[in-house]
């Protein structure tokens, strides 16, 4: 029992990272039809920002704020430079461009920043472990879950209670009509990217608090898993994306703990195979695409 709870805690923590990224991806996808591969590089950029700031002795609250600003600005810049000229292009064009942008950022980081992995000097309190009965809860994992839940709640409030949020939900349904109603397209699109960048920044902070270090390729597996979370939940549904992220995280963690010997290394492969299996039965995803953005 204790062990099961332990595994669930690990799974939920891993799932939180996927869920935060999946949320940003689903948001941009539902408005622009863009599968943004370069989303993973936002996490990488967040990681390098943390590395640079911590190694220059910045206190952690400053690092937190500056990292979020860096990833948000990076996401907005990405939209402005790479994707705006292609607004309205078909899905393949957008997809290939985002794949290219992803590699562009990776190569740029390799050449101009560092080709070797770099350790991040995170504060010591991230190593704290709390004990509840026999279950040991690493502080980072508890914080991760709490932050993720808060982020989802705040995002819901934003999307339901503000004019801009409502406009974004409408744009996810039918962008052309929303523009006809006098909402400026660029405002909606830039906001979507900014929010996705902010969420990626949160994911980066939580991820690198316990990851051994940052390298230029660190974002790619994360973004692929987040994408799988998105389609598992059902494309175009934000809560589906969150759910999908958590399911994938839990599946990976449970398989990781319960497979024996050499099979442990295959746990992620099994988790992915299970997800594809679920899609075989429910191609529209767990939540289904009938419902749109939130």
């Amino acid at each position: 029992m204790t062990q099961l709870i332990q595994e669930l805690v690990n799974g939920v923590s891993l799932g939180s990272t996927y869920a935060l990224l999946a949320l940003g991806l689903a948001m941009v996808f539902s408005i622009l039809g863009l599968i943004n591969f370069a989303h993973g590089e936002l996490v990488t950029i967040g990681g390098y920002t943390m590395w640079a700031l911590f190694n220059h002795g910045f206190p952690w609250p400053a690092v937190l704020v500056l990292t979020l600003i860096a990833t948000t600005l990076a996401a907005v810049a990405m939209e402005r430079i790479a994707f705006r000229p292609l607004r309205g292009a078909n899905i393949s064009t957008l997809l290939i461009t985002s794949f290219a942008v992803s590699f562009f950022i990776q190569v740029a980081l390799q050449i101009f920043v560092s080709a070797q992995p770099q350790g991040i000097g995170v504060p010591n309190w991230t190593d704290t472990v709390w004990h509840v009965g026999d279950v040991s809860l690493p502080a980072v994992k508890v914080v991760t879950l709490a932050v993720t839940v808060t982020a989802v709640v705040l995002l819901t409030v934003f999307l339901r209670r503000t004019i801009l949020g409502v406009a974004m939900r409408a744009a996810a349904e039918d962008f052309d009509t929303v523009r006809l109603l006098g909402v400026r397209a660029n405002v909606v699109v830039v906001t979507a990217f900014a929010v996705s960048g902010l969420l990626a920044g949160v994911a980066a902070l939580l991820f690198f608090a316990s990851a051994p270090g940052v390298d230029s390729g660190v974002g790619t597996p994360l973004v692929i898993n987040a994408f799988i979370g998105v389609i598992l939940g059902g494309l175009g549904n934000l809560y589906g994306a969150v759910l999908g992220g958590f399911v994938l995280g839990l599946a990976t963690s449970l398989l990781d703990a319960n497979l024996h010997g050499t099979y442990t290394q295959f746990s992620q492969a099994f988790a992915l195979a299970i997800v594809v299996g679920i899609l075989l039965v429910r191609p529209q995803g767990l939540v289904g695409r009938a419902e749109a953005l939130t």
Partner: protein
């Protein structure tokens, strides 16, 4: 539905003459030049790989990021079937039925194609139930699964340390023969009934389905054939590079493959071959400068890690922003030439 012309297969096969001619001339040049021919064999192998991708993605319109899973399967299997058994007996954990075989290259190539075909059949039944963006991501999941298996199944693949030394079966003759076969297969498939119906579904899946095209069935057929071709290409790739690691079949080569596919034009066999030529040229010419240092006066770069990737990124961005149809556009080379000649004669008679 109107029928295909009676001798469509002959017409299509003959229509590949500019490409086959080009490949033959390249081979002649390599033979005449003598010396190291590995650049040329690399080109022919890239032709096979990109045509495998073109066969599925070009006709169906579903971009595949997963073909390197088939290429890897082919490379590992063909490698294991052709490495000297005396050497293999020293590999710890290799299943016994893989230790004894010492096949000739052609049989191993066929086995690689079949194994990749089986993987395609199994994965295709699940993945191709999905459509659009979901299908793209599910195919990507296949690549991820394959990478994990190549890395973790150390008994067979030797893991990240790599499987070596594979015999150098990728000679100019072998690769040329397979490349020409791939050109014919890709072109014949494209002009076949299945190919045409699949292209109809690429243009408008709903309309195609509404007039009775079994879209999913045709997609699965293309996926399997494409997987087999990729497996065969993988076998050649393994024998060319002689040491294979999981990284040879993950994201960077996937990106290179996509660039080949896009740059020349996704809809044509000729475009794919031109894309392979351009990318091979970039890969081979920039290899010497990889990891070198550059002094730009104000800026001193110590190690240009990922220079080839960078060139590929720039190429794809240029194509995406300025010429989305690729170099060739919609028509095959022979079709363009024919219409050019027709226009000339038309103008002359008038």
């Amino acid at each position: 539905m109107s029928r295909l012309p009676r001798y469509w297969a002959v017409q299509s096969a003959v229509g590949t003459w500019p490409i086959v001619g080009g490949l033959a001339l390249t081979a002649l040049w390599a033979w005449a030049r003598g010396g190291d021919q590995s650049k040329f064999t690399h080109f022919f192998i890239n032709v096979v790989l990109v045509l495998a991708l073109q066969l599925f993605s070009g006709n169906s319109g579903i971009l595949s990021f997963g073909h390197m899973a088939f290429v890897g399967t082919g490379a590992y299997l063909a490698g294991l079937l052709t490495i000297d058994p005396a050497l293999k007996s020293t590999f710890a954990g290799l299943p016994h039925f893989l230790v004894s075989p010492h096949w000739n290259w052609f049989l191993a190539l066929l086995a690689a194609a079949c194994a990749a075909g089986v993987l395609a059949a199994v994965s295709g039944l699940a993945i191709l139930r999905l459509d659009g963006a979901s299908a793209v991501i599910a195919i990507l999941a296949l690549l991820l699964i394959a990478d994990i298996v190549f890395t973790a199944w150390t008994g067979v693949t030797r893991g990240a340390g790599g499987l070596y030394p594979l015999p150098s079966h990728a000679t100019l003759t072998h690769t040329l023969a397979v490349a020409v076969a791939a050109v014919l297969i890709a072109r014949l498939f494209k002009d076949s009934r299945t190919g045409l119906l699949l292209q109809a579904s690429r243009e408008d899946a709903f309309s195609a389905a509404s007039v009775g095209v079994a879209v999913r069935q045709y997609r699965v057929r293309a996926w399997i054939l494409s997987g087999m071709l990729a497996g065969a290409g993988g076998a050649l790739f393994g024998w060319w590079i002689t040491t294979i690691t999981p990284a040879n079949f993950f994201l960077e080569p996937t990106f290179a493959l996509i660039v080949m596919f896009i740059v020349g034009g996704t809809r044509t066999v000729g475009g794919a071959v031109i894309g392979a030529a351009v990318v091979t040229l970039v890969q081979e010419e920039l290899r010497n400068y990889e990891d070198s240092s550059v002094d730009l006066g104000i800026l001193k770069l110590h190690r240009l890690t990922g220079l080839t990737q960078f060139a590929l990124v720039l190429m794809i961005l240029v194509v995406m922003y300025f010429r989305r149809e690729g170099i060739l556009g919609r028509r095959e080379l022979d079709e363009s030439l024919r219409s050019l000649v027709r226009r000339r004669t038309h103008a002359a008679t008038r």
